[in-house]
């Protein structure tokens, strides 16, 4: 039986190898970046007040993640009017807004909790919490590349939007009016339980200042 089985085994192996050779380039899903329509990567981070938050704490609520760096000109532009207004709108709609700072110590935009709170107050900002991510763990889990870089996660924890805050990649204040508000549209759609038409858009801004 041993001889038979060995032959049979070889034949199986050969046919499997032939199969694999036929499909020369094997590809399978294994994305590092989070995928629209899939559960958003889980994370736990400490906020500016030292309180710990996990994504799972917010099940049942729409969650917005906003990558930020207060010294980035693109962020400055959007904090002049746009982002505080969006945060208020989000708050009124029961949306959890988490601003994430992934700047590493010594890099532009790195702040401690106290400074983060001062910035929130001075900019009239109204996030649910400001998460400090100096190790870049949350940022890398979401493949956040720019400030701002916006994400919308629905009440079931599924990632529904990833990309830019709007459509005109500039640091000019006057462009906010002209741009199509991609993120705002996406957030409103998710709150209403509707489909996000443009779920992946180009994020623009400064690169996130990760620990190198």
């Amino acid at each position: 039986m041993n001889g038979t089985s060995r032959r049979a085994m070889l034949r199986t192996t050969a046919s499997a190898a032939a199969l694999a050779a036929a499909g020369f380039l094997v590809a399978a899903p294994a994305l590092a970046a989070p995928v629209i329509g899939q559960p958003a990567p889980a994370f736990t981070a400490v906020d500016s007040k030292g309180k710990q938050h996990s994504l799972s704490d917010f099940k049942g609520k729409t969650v917005v993640l906003e990558w930020t760096n207060h010294d980035c000109p693109y962020v400055k532009k959007h904090y002049q009017a746009n982002i505080p207004a969006l945060q208020k709108q989000a708050r009124d709609a029961g949306v959890v807004w988490l601003s994430v700072i992934s700047s590493a110590p010594g890099e532009q935009g790195h702040v401690d909790g106290k400074k983060a709170d001062e910035l929130t107050a001075s900019r009239n900002a109204a996030p649910t919490a400001v998460l400090l991510d100096p190790q870049g763990t949350v940022g890398k889990a979401y493949d956040a590349r720019t400030t701002p870089h916006m994400y919308v996660i629905d009440a079931k924890g599924v990632l529904r939007y990833a990309g830019g805050i709007d459509s005109i990649a500039s640091a000019k204040l006057e462009d906010i009016e002209k741009a199509s508000p991609l993120f705002k549209t996406a957030m409103e759609a998710v709150v209403k339980g509707e489909n996000v038409a443009q779920a992946t858009t180009r994020p623009y801004g400064c690169n996130v200042k990760y620990k190198s």
Partner: protein, 700 residues
Amino acid sequence: MPLSLHTALRSWHGFFAALLLVSTSSLALAAQSNVQQSPRATVSLVSEYAAVTPGQELRIGLRQRLAPHWHTYWKNPGDAGSPPSITFNSPQGATVGDIAWPGPDRFIIGPVASYGYENEIVFPMTLKVPQDARPGSELVLEAKADWVVCEKECIPEEGTFRLVLPVEASARDASDEIRAAFRTADARQPQASPWKATVSAGESTLHLTVEGEGIAPATVRSALYFPDSWGIVDHVAEQFLKVEEGRLTLATTKGQGYTPGPSAGLLAITDGGGQKRWFALELTPGAATAATTEAPATLPLWQMALFAFLGGLILNLMPCVFPVLAIKATAVAGMSGGDRRAVRLSGVFYTLGVLAAFMALALALLAVRAGGSAVGWGFQFQSPLFVAAMCWLMLAIGLNLSGVYEIGGTLAGAGQDLAQKKGHAGSFFTGLLAVVVATPCTAPFMGAAIGSALVAPAYVSLVVFATMGLGLALPFLFLGIFPSIARRLPRPGGWMVTLRQAMAFPMYATAAWLLWVLAQQAGEAGLRMALAGLVLVGLVAWLIGLHQHRAKKTWWPRGAALAGVAGIAGLMVVLHGAEPVAAAASTQSAQAEPYSAERLALLRAEGKPVFVNMTAAWCITCLVNERTTLSTAAVQQAMQEGGVVYMKGDWTNRDPAITAFLQSFGRDGLPFYAFYPAGKGPVVLPPVLTQAIVTDSLKQ
């Protein structure tokens, strides 16, 4: 009105420009506008002609001279930044065209990539001088531009420019310095490519193929693709180049914004002499590369059935089944010398149990398949709840074998006359258990057979599973069919009690192993619940035993046992909701890279040999192979010598990527090993490895 700092600076710049104009005193400088300067960038509007003629078409350009390490952007800036923009307040009749973007370079800063330029760049635009421009007059171009310069930080800048071009009877060249700047930009101007370019996308990879004359290993030293728009490729991902005569391929990671269909971009090729040139490519979609969409070739039914039968037979020898066989052996020992008919029936019921379990598994697999999910053989072990329940069951069986309590009796509430049937129920149950526990030990043959069966019509799958069950059940069925063999078994006696007690230990060992698997899967929390369950199982078994051994029956052991059972049920509910732990660290070792389809594709495009090992904490054969073969010094050395990248995929928890990988080979179970020699298709290794098998295949 107070003079703002900004205005002051602006006027200072004007002064600076005027100073330049005066000090150099050459007329040629009229080919340059005022200069906007910051510590990072010196920007002006330049013209390739110092004087222009009516109707002339010439080029003007936004010229940026950058401080070292600062860069500015191409039309697709990559991950961050934005390209410069310029708007003209054109004089009557004059028109200025769009920027003819010079070919960019790529700058990688941490996890992001930018496409753009360092040092100096001119963004050329075509200017058409009006036909009716009067010689002796001046053509004044006013422009407002903004741009972003980045090093690590990004600074948006802007400026207004005024370029004055005298209109004369004949055109006059700009200074050599300005013409040189244009020439530098021209050297970057993309050329139309003479080649056929196709793009094909996998789940996460993108392959660019460029074919045509002039492409050869000698002429292409390196190449980089710049898509015209954002998100086609992952900008920061490496692009692996493979050059053959008349053809080059670039393998990289697909971008988030990729959509199938034609696209355009630039291919930057550095030739053998180190010269870089840019070619404009129009990419058309090529053949899909996803092998995963291809159905594995189906074996003929009889062959599938044969493999399945042999596979089932061999399952009897697998470490997973041993503990269950121990139960059966105990049962057979108990029957030795007993009623011939009872022995025969016991074999039949065992077989029925095995078949029922196989059918149930097959139906479950088919149902899940119909639901669109990818599952694999042994999938039930990917559920922490299942693993915990099996662990408890093993302890319960072990405690029974140890004599803590007896199965049957009053607890089942059945009468004495049913005892015979209970024996058969026991055989049936043993058969069920053998299958459920044996599945992770996918033996040779089974992989391909099950793989084929799962893509085949349902009835084929059922036939295959049934024959596999027959194979597994055969040894004990044999005992029943040929009672003469059974008759040769030793007579019953005291040795039976000893054997039975000894057989408890394989059960305890299996429980311990399952506990370890669970720790990989569900982490500390899962382990805690499983341990609590084990204590409860022990308690319940003891209480039942207590009740059974007492002459005077009291209610409380029964009540307490019921409470214990309720506790276990509660734990099961909690475990059911437990989230699997992301990575099972224990199946990873230091020198192995975790499996990723894109990484594999990239390594292969790079021409590196790769050895892929798919494993799981619950796959004993995998662990044995690892211990005896893969982690040995001889094999590790052979891999190192051959420059083989060792890649390991962990299937302890569900992982669609690994399921898809296995299915691309027509497999559904572990262990699975594939070796990809440099530049060749994969070779599948047998599921049971020896050092010689591995080292021989690595030599290919």
